[in-house]
Symmetry: C2
Subunit: 445 residues, 2 copies
């Protein structure tokens, strides 16, 4: 371990005091859970701490406790949900605040003594390939890691911090990066932080790490067969770009290790003047589509936003607008920000038809376009008919205004756009003042 | 033959009087040529009339006489040229004006009694595949056609007129259409004007008409094996677009025969107001490159101009300008007129690099672009590096001004451009007033 890594570790490793507090808190909540169960005559229930808290792989300051309460698989699902919520709600009475969460079935989230606590009911199945609900897998993951991670915890911490700083950590659909479990598996597989980086720097798509022989074929860039379920790719959520970004960062760090690779760089928000200066330098066209953020959880929201982004990009390109790039910012509003070569294009469009010698198609094309009164010209070029026709939309904003609702959009995003939206062109994007948005602009422009 | 074709024929067929005058004139000049040769003791010389005048396939008003004076192949080339020019010059003394022309060897062009007369020396070889100079082939062509064209002359006249009107007649490098000889061969092969049109309406590239089994493979769209030389494609000069235009016109005429297909439609020259109106309707960008027309014959000039046109198009497209089309007008000046989506483009350019996982290339790309101070941004998209870099040229005129001399240009065009040129943008193209140029604009805009 490099001295700089030791230094990073000192910063990110929980103190003894912090560890004791966590153990004490977790112990108390688990005992209370059992008491509550007993009192209500809910029998055959086991309570366990899972996740990074249970495995000593949590970074200082992240105070997550995942308490899993498991039942026999014979318990009907309604009962499981009923018991789970009952125990959760009773426990939550001791917390500062709580709410119900929904994954495959409801669970309880609470804030207790500075910890974010999830109280999750699950089935105690005999084998991870026989799970009834996705969360039933977690105790198997927990056991697999606990049995192997001893002595490697510091390497996990470094890797997690390296990924957090680089923006590749987190398997939720907003990030599409590496999960905590995946990070631990990588350390176990390669043996150390350094080894993971060295291996990853020569990764290629279809990269396979096979704890088991897989029972199906995966298509994702990184394929890590779940050691508790040979039919599952632990890295299924990892996007190609996050996969590549991690490779890239590994190479850079190995070439020149610096402490800055363990600190998230956050751009400064741009002022009005800076935005105008950047736009004047690029001389491209910026437009933004703004609408109220739908009130749904991020794992539902983000896939819809990415879908909208792809749809809008495809719409613009189909109508001959030349996209440079687009980005999404989510706050009170969603802002889809789009950079185009030019937001205004010529009226005349060169529409290429079939080769003249493909008689039937050629005759149909000729008939169609020579009958139209709005055709500028009709001629032959490189053996093909060309009809010069007027474009329906010559500005990106008129295109979006008229066609946005025909785009393939998710349910909630579609609804929000139907309620209200705004299109801001050029310097009108200055109307949005939020700091986070201005921070995104600093990366975008 | 349709009544309308009969009517066209009445209009284009030379009168008896016209024919008599041609025969008389040709007869006189040929007799004089023999007299001159005899007087100078140039022996073993034969004089013959070739071309459409000799085959009764000339359209009224076109007064071309091609007189070929042939010598034994044993005569040295210098002697052939000397004798040829001597007889030519002596004959030319009777003409209204004359000049020397150059093909493979010099010949004499004169104007005599309203006729454009070419007096061409050639070798009397035994076989067209043994020619010494390209012109030696002509007497063989003449004999082949003369022996077969009797009774088909009217069909040839109709086909020539149809091609002239449609802009597909003429095998010179300016036009790249059908030669007179090719037209006659088509009539002989298919049997009538109507048959040619019907056949051509289903032609496809690599169309073969084999008077002989070819001794080599041709690549041109229409491949008509010369009946006097199996290694030659009579249609070698025909461009793909003229080939297609002819197919297109044949189909249209067969579908709805009208007399207008035998009259060349010439667009009216556009006024300043009309040009502006058209430009405002298209909302594209027009630029024009103007320079003095080099003083060379058309068959040398046009290939150079087309080469320049392709070069300039490639230059613009390589630098991300989106070409709609370009056109060339030749008068006192050459004007290359170019229509672009936009003559001004954004400064920022998205430069895509290699996939991140192709380690060596990726590292080279990263190093190259992250070191540059003018790079706007560097990131990963779809697994590939992207560097946002500034474009060198953001206006088409600055690009042309700086790079035109690096384009692949013909010798004379290059020289003329080095002497002087002008780039006219947008409404400045109104500065050019020539009627022919304004006529081209009517087709272009």
């Amino acid at each position: 371990m490099l001295p700089l890594e030791q230094k990073v570790l000192e910063r990110i490793k929980p103190s003894l005091e912090e560890k004791e507090k966590l153990e004490k808190t977790a112990g108390y909540l688990m005992r209370r859970a059992i008491q509550i169960a007993k009192k209500e005559s809910i029998t055959d229930v086991k309570v366990q701490l899972v996740g990074s808290a249970a495995r000593n792989t949590w970074i200082t300051g992240t105070h997550d406790l995942d308490i899993f309460i498991s039942y026999d698989p014979s318990l009907p699902r309604e009962k499981l949900e009923e018991y789970g919520l009952f125990i959760g709600h009773e426990l939550a009475k001791e917390g500062q605040s709580w709410e119900e969460g929904y994954a495959e079935h409801p669970y309880t989230k609470m804030n207790y003594a500075g910890f974010d606590v999830d109280i999750v009911p699950c089935y105690r199945v005999t084998d991870a390939s026989r799970i009834i609900s996705a969360v039933d897998r977690t105790p198997f993951h927990n056991r697999f890691i606990k049995e192997r991670i001893k002595g490697l915890e510091d390497d996990v911490l470094l890797l997690k911090q390296f990924m957090k700083a680089g923006g590749t950590y987190g398997s939720e659909l907003k990030t599409r990066g590496f999960s905590g479990y995946l990070t631990e598996l990588l350390i176990i597989h390669y043996g150390s932080f350094k080894n993971v980086l060295e291996a990853a720097s020569v990764w290629e798509p279809n990269q396979k790490i096979e704890f088991l022989k897989p029972t199906k074929e995966f298509s994702e860039p990184l394929q890590v067969v779940d050691p508790t379920d040979a039919g599952r790719n632990v890295a299924a959520a990892l996007s190609l770009d996050k996969f590549c970004l991690f490779i890239d960062l590994c190479r850079q760090y190995l070439e020149e290790p610096r402490e800055s690779y363990f600190s998230r760089k956050i751009a400064a928000p741009l002022s009005d003047g800076e935005i105008i200066q950047r736009m004047n330098k690029r001389t491209s066209s910026i437009i933004a589509l703004k609408f109220n953020t739908p009130e749904v959880v991020e794992d539902i929201l983000y896939p819809q936003l990415f879908k909208m982004q792809k749809s809008v990009e495809a719409l613009l390109e189909k109508q001959d607008f030349q996209l440079i790039k687009s980005g999404i910012w989510v706050g009170k509003d969603v802002v889809l920000i789009i950079e185009l070569e030019n937001s205004q294009i010529a009226t005349v469009k060169k529409h290429r038809g079939p080769p003249v010698w493909v008689k039937q198609h050629a005759e149909m094309f000729r008939e169609k376009y020579t009958d139209r009164t709005d055709v500028f010209a009709f001629y032959i070029e490189d053996g093909k008919y060309v009809a010069e026709i007027p474009r329906k939309y010559t500005t990106a904003s008129s295109l979006l205004e008229n066609e946005i609702h025909n785009c393939s959009l998710g349910k909630q995003v579609s609804k929000s756009l139907k309620d209200e939206y705004e299109i801001l062109s050029g310097k009108n994007i200055l109307q949005i003042k939020d700091t986070d948005y201005r921070t995104l602009l600093n990366e975008f422009l």
